[in-house]
Amino acid sequence: MTLLGGGLLLIMLAGVPGLFCRSDEHGGERFAALLTLVGAVCIGAAIVSATRGSGELSHTFAWSVPGASLAFYLDPLAICFLLPLLIIVATGAIYGLRYWPHREHPANGRKLRLFYGLISGAMILLLLARNGVLFLMAWEVMAISGYFLITTEDHQAEVRRAGFIYLIATHTGTLALFALFVLLGPSTGSLDFPAAGTLAATGSSLIFLLGLFGFGMKAGLMPLHIWLPGAHAAAPSHASALLSGVMIKTGIYGLVRLTSLFAEIPAWWGWTVLLLGAVSGIMGVALALAQHDIKRLLAYHSVENIGIIALGLGIALLGRSYDQPALIVLGLSGCLLHVVNHGLFKALLFLSAGSVIHAVGSRQIDHYGGLLKLQPWTGAMFLGGAVAICGLPPLNGFVSEWLIYLGSFQALKQPGSALAAAVLAAPVLALIGGLALACFVKVFGIAFLGEPRTTAAAQAHEAPVAMLAPMVTLLVACTWIGLLPTTLHTLLQKAVGTWAGTVVAGVATGSVAPLRWISLSAWLLLLLVVVLFAVVRWRSRTAPRELGTWGCGYRFPAVRMQYTASSFADFLIRLFAFGLNSEEHGRQVAGLFPLRQTFSSHTPDAVLDRILVPAFRAGSWLCRRLRAWFHNGSIARYLLYVIVTVIVLLTLFTP
């Protein structure tokens, strides 16, 4: 507990010493990174010692706030979320040393580090909290620190807009959680979480809906994802890594924790989560395909992956409703493992994207090109992340998606029951996988392969070691899970046990999902590829490299003739035209010898730009009209309100 608490404080307050340094100096950046590292190691040690022992750690202290107590509880479920968190926080802190060095950003460096520490600490606290008030406090500290991370560069109007949308979304979600925790506990006394599997499901629909709204908003489930793309694009890359890799997972954590409290789960909960997961997955990746901004694209992929995670959770929930241990085990293991995996590879992708942005100075994919030659390490890291996020073997993304696939296949064993419809998760996953592959091939191909499209891209430089080392660490972690998934087996098993209680006691993950075979295949694949690649490489070591690519007969091929991100995705986007509504400007070319033409396409967010923004605009217009009418400046009018109030109250309250 000392280790845990100490580590928590170290991480949380890592940015504070910097506040007392002069802003034109180093701003305490190294010290902050060191504190974060030490804190992460402390917490890691605490987790290890806890898992060596009973696997759980529990402490409760009194707290003189109504309904609150300092109830900490470390269980395998929380560990599943803590592990990627610690890795990402630590690597991000080191990455930030060179990505956002204080001497280049004296104005906002200290703010960034302060809130980086706060958000990390708050997330850890959130995962440990077992009391409604404590949870909400950690939740909101996290949310608000997130806001300040997003608005690190608040001199840009676009960043402020993204930040504000985020803040609205998160606060609205938090308010729903207020109601959730109020309803969850008794109206007086302590709001400590009830023990797992004790709450009756009757009358809890409102609780579930509130949770789905509040937590779903944070997680970025599809209709609630409005804040996510802008926010992740606006934040500095290592902050985006933290937000996308970890923060949105707290929403999933909330849903998982919430559902663990109930004794039985109504079937429609699972169906709802499954449906939302499918929508998020498909629409998330379709929207991602249409993006030109590398960070927005990655952000939409977060929506997609949250969808995959929700598919897993939905299957597990259905497993509980229909009393199918295999579904529970596979669905939840897949869900939790994908939480870990997505954290790792998304952080890796954001960090390597950050390295590219740092080198080229633009977020537009179409401004890149040929970076693999200039940034060989960054490129390789991005490739690793891309393979992982597409769920391809031998990396980690495959393992978790595989578990979810198996979960959905298990539903086949229930012929005639409604549960069989859950198998539809499998083709949905397949479609998501195919689209994700298209998308990441696009990003990797356009950004890193071919020829540089701009002079900035042609002058790009490789990232320094302090930025590469974190990426390598993350890639190693991804590969580790891909090659040795069995190492996480026990943890997942225990976590599923905490969630579902004794229902799943007899079903081991290994028995329904032979992770050892996956591990073996992954090793084999990797080994064969490496060997064959080495052979080909060796044979081609003296090959001539003087000529350019064949231009198919064009006399003067230029770099601008290369396929761009937009053209690559165009075919697919047209298929999804019904949901994307891309806007195109300047399509028509007239005449045999057209003059200079421009063409651009832009895909606004389906929910935010098409529905919410117009609705808010109309609402605010109405509000302002009402205000102008009400407060027209005339004192006679104001006195009229007084007398009307008197008359109304008198008629209402005197017989």
């Binding site: 706030v65 606060h171 729903a176 007086t188 205000r627 006195l639 009307v644 008197v646 008198l650």
Partner: protein, 474 residues
């Protein structure tokens, strides 16, 4: 002792008229308010128990007394720095008026007699009018005029309400007395129709002063044109005092067995205040008018809390404390921002954190606090209030409150964030954060933060006692 607490500022106010030195006069404010704070602290902690026919302190008034005193102390410290900046306007009116304001507020808090309460509240209106008119320009005089007119009319209605209550005693055949304890004791015998009508007038009267919608129309003008610290005192102190007046009515109704009716009235007006404030905050370009609407919103919350009763009433008491302190921070910080930009309109005020690192940050932090973000105090009170609302199975009201709170957050956030974040627009040279102008808002926000993380047992008990007073069952 209590008499001294009231008379002492009055005497100093008289003295300040004859003191010729500018700085000394300014420094009188923090000194007097420090003494006031110390004495009220001692009174509340029970060294000198006070009960009396005319003035006395019960749990409710103890709470309001301490809050007002703390708020006044902070504003007094701020005032020294502020008046130093405003030597062009002088402090010959400001200092005595502030001291008189303190005295009459204390009197209103301590009054155990409805007539006396009424006189004191009317006196606060008159004492604060010159304060609002401090800037002496066209707009401030208009604001003062509206404030004076609407509050006077309101308070006249409160007078009528008190007379009705007295007549209710006459009608009930009991000896007529406006002494509050006597009234409470004979409440069940009061003539119902008169009592009800009296309560309505009392509610409208004090509600005008408190700023419950739709009686709040003077607020944006007065808060907008008055100096920041006056806004703080009005929004944090005076509203609490007026709320105390409303609570007296509720106590009386509860004692007469008609608490339900009083609660319904409060609940209705509270919800209306919350709703109108939420609507009016949307795209509000003026930061101080925005704060005024925020004040309306929180008065609405207090009314809702008391209207629901039980845990929510406790929460309302806690919210009274939190709201007063946070409003103090908000208004003082907004005052600094306004001085730096010589404007309070979003058209000019941009990037306040860049221009005024301390005040801008405080403004932003106080915004987060007032909108109920943990770990600040208002979060706890709003959350506890929601527990009360949902615990009483008022689900619709609870959801409505949540939706309106979200709307308030959006409306307020748009203005506050635009004004604080981004690159600073051109500011008047020469105004920078100075410690006298920052220490008070900083103190307030720290207090609010502490209240969000830790509620001392004595405070909890005091709040509970205050809430219990509203639950009198005959």
């Amino acid at each position: 002792m209590l008499v001294f607490l009231i008379v002492f500022p009055l005497i100093i106010a008289l003295c300040s008229l004859v003191i010729p030195w500018y700085q000394v006069r300014s420094w009188l404010l923090p000194i007097v308010s420090a003494v006031h704070l110390l004495l009220s602290g001692m009174l509340v902690l029970g060294r000198f128990p006070v009960t009396g026919d005319w003035i006395g302190l019960d749990a409710l008034s103890q709470l309001v007394l301490v809050v007002t005193s703390v708020l006044f102390f902070g504003c007094a410290v701020y005032a020294v720095g502020y008046l130093d900046l405003r030597r062009d306007r002088g402090n010959q009116t400001m200092v005595p008026c502030l001291l008189i304001f303190l005295a009459v507020m204390t009197l209103a808090i301590a009054a155990r007699h409805l007539g006396l309460l009424w006189v004191a509240v009317e006196a606060t209106t008159i004492a604060s009018a010159p304060l609002i008119y401090f800037n002496r320009n066209r707009l401030s005089i208009e604001a003062t005029w509206k404030y004076l007119m609407i509050c006077s009319v309101g308070i006249a209605l409160a007078m009528l309400g008190i007379l009705f209550i007295a007549y209710a005693a006459l009608g009930g055949g009991t000896p007529v007395s406006l002494q509050f304890d006597t009234l409470l004791a004979q409440a069940p015998q009061l003539s119902k129709p008169w009592l009800h009508a009296g309560f309505v007038f009392l509610l409208v009267g004090f509600g005008t002063k408190m700023g419950l919608a739709p009686l709040h129309s003077w607020k944006p003008d007065a808060y907008g044109e008055a100096p920041g610290m006056i806004g703080a005192l009005l929004a944090g102190g005076l509203t609490s005092v007026a709320f105390l007046g409303v609570l007296r009515g509720v106590q009386l109704m509860a004692a007469a067995g008609d608490g339900g009716m009083a609660r319904q009235a409060l609940l209705g007006m509270g919800l209306l205040s919350l709703a109108l404030a939420a609507v009016f905050m949307v795209r509000q370009p003026d930061i101080k008018r925005l704060l005024a609407y925020s004040s309306v919103e929180h008065m609405g919350l207090l009314a809702i809390g008391v209207g629901i009763g039980g845990v929510a009433a406790f929460a309302a008491m806690l919210h009274l404390v939190n709201n007063a302190l946070t409003k103090g921070c908000l208004f003082l910080a907004a005052g600094n921002v306004q001085r730096a930009y010589t404007s309070k309109n979003l058209a000019e005020v941009r990037g306040a954190i860049g221009a005024l690192p301390v005040s801008g940050t405080l403004f932003l932090a106080a915004f987060l606090a007032i909108t109920g973000s943990p770990p600040f105090g208002p979060f706890l009170s709003e959350f506890t209030m929601l527990r009360g609302i949902f615990g009483g199975e008022h689900y619709v009201i609870g959801m409505l409150v949540l939706v309106l709170l979200a709307m308030v957050f959006i409306g307020m956030g748009a203005t506050v964030l635009t004004s604080t974040q981004g690159a600073p627009s051109a500011t008047t040279a020469g105004f920078r954060d100075r410690w006298l102008l920052c220490i008070s808002p900083l103190g307030f926000i720290l207090l609010v933060l502490i209240l969000g993380l830790y509620i001392p047992e004595p405070l909890r008990e005091a709040l509970q006692r205050a809430a219990d007073l509203l639950e009198v069952h005959p």
